[in-house]
Subunit: 306 residues, 2 copies
């Protein structure tokens, strides 16, 4: 089955303590779609300006990513500029230029409307609502978000939670959104607003997946000695997760077992993504490497050796 | 087999955002010995003053804890007073009174000297050296430490690393000691100084265990909604871990498989410990509850459901 992904497509300028690169392919939908495409076909919804480099279009097209929902309009592509501090965990936004994104209204091509798995990648909650207004009855809807929307669009985000099966956010955002320091309580508070499942990403500390009736899964992060660019880690996680769900929903229900596997592969995709700037690592990684790393991750979290 | 535990025995005054309790049993050896005693007999080395309440002595004696190495001397018991902030992760020491601890010289009774497993619980590295000077050839030596000793006794601690099989410390301490932000690199840097194994505790994020030749285990923390008092979590972890190693070393080598299991039970003991002030929860928990929680923790970190 396919996954519908709506989100941002951006050109990023990124500075880390080790390097600085301008004009990189970025955006939640770019990372999410390429990550998902390792597991399932993707229907992409997004917007870029006429300045968007053809090579990026070609990259997306070369994967199983349908671009009928990609609007290419007059004007400049959304731009984001950020800088990572020495610990690679703290990030400062240096500038944002919305450009064509300012008046973006996601419009779903007719054949996208019945996509069974929907990933509302990180964009304004109002736009995420707008996408859900256009779809039929998807089997599973996942929403990603960020601190910005908790700060400036909390009401819309809260209403969105009543419309999705799963929310993905990081630990700081879960605390910020709920006012709960304890992550177990924070997850329960989010679930009370609608989503049956909550995934709380903790960066180098892995990810917690909360389901119903005490279902709980703790997935470690793959231990990396070098992180070259954390940008898009969360988006790759969400994309990989959604792609696996789309693949698995061919053969069974979207239950906690499927979500466990989806979280594992999301974590693996995120771990590859941070090994290079932009989507450079996702461009070169292959299915065998992804399988290998998921096996390693499994061994690393097993209580007993086989 | 038995485990030898040397560390501090204290009377603590503890304040959390929810409650304040004076005059509690505390200290690294108290927590460590009681935690270890669930799995193996303990030979305890420590010092208290004449003011040390008899009920605490009785508690230790009621477990499999040999007290021949406990010095009871004229003067007052070591006292520590601390306060936890709202997130229960940040802690401020309000006061320290060394009292009888100031001139403590650990002296091992003759029958302690061949204890096969040694836990140098958190005390000054010089005292940890002094204990190692008195033992024969233990099968496995574990050292715990804290930020204070990295600050004021780094040379002695560094020398100690050449004499131990395993170091336990938390993530902040690993970064502080090595100057490496990345925990994988920090663990490698510590291993280069001596210990074959390093356990990095990450509180609510679980624990990372590093061995040789890429051996690696990521153990989740048991998800708790309420943490009443974090004091002694690390000491209970170290004690539980050492106790399991002592139990397992009857039947096989102290290898990475045994250490995985030891880290799991250490984590379980720490999770019980923080459910109440002082050793109150460790006093009431029983073997079946410990087994149950270790099974739950295993289920929570399994990639596939059974």
């Amino acid at each position: 089955m396919s996954v519908l992904i709506v989100g941002s497509i951006a050109l990023d300028d990124i500075k880390t303590p080790a390097a600085e690169h301008p004009n990189l392919l970025g955006g939640s939908a770019s990372y999410g779609a390429v990550a998902a495409s390792f597991f399932s076909p993707v229907n992409l919804v997004g917007i870029v300006g006429e300045d968007f480099p053809k090579e990026h279009i070609e990259l997306l097209r070369s994967r199983r990513i349908d671009l009928e929902g990609l609007q290419i309009v007059a004007g400049k592509t959304f731009r984001w500029s950020g800088e990572y501090m020495l610990d690679m965990n703290t990030r400062e936004t240096r500038s944002v230029e919305l450009n064509v994104f300012e008046h973006f209204t996601p419009a779903l091509p007719a054949n996208y409307k019945s996509t069974p798995i929907v990933l509302l990648a990180n964009i304004a909650p109002d736009l995420q609502h707008h996408v859900l207004d256009q779809v039929g009855k998807p089997r599973f809807v996942i929403a990603d978000t960020m601190d910005l929307w908790i700060n400036i669009a909390k009401d819309s985000l809260t209403r969105l939670l009543g419309r999705v099966d799963m929310l993905i956010l990081n630990d700081g955002e879960a605390r910020q959104f709920t006012g709960e320091t304890n992550l177990v309580k924070a997850a329960r508070a989010i679930q009370a607003l609608g989503p049956k499942y909550v995934a709380i990403k903790k960066g180098e500390h892995g990810c917690l997946l909360f389901g119903s009736d005490g279902e709980f899964f703790s997935c470690p992060a793959f231990p990396l000695e070098e992180i070259h660019d954390p940008t898009g880690a969360g988006d790759s996680f969400a994309g990989g997760l959604a792609g696996v769900l789309a693949r698995e929903s061919d053969s069974g229900p979207v239950d906690f077992g499927a979500l466990r596997r989806a979280v594992v592969f999301g974590s693996v995709l995120a771990s590859f993504n941070v090994e290079a700037f932009s989507l450079e690592r996702l461009k070169t990684v292959d299915a065998a490497q992804i399988e290998d790393r998921s096996r390693l991750l499994r061994l690393m979290s097993q209580f007993e050796t086989d």
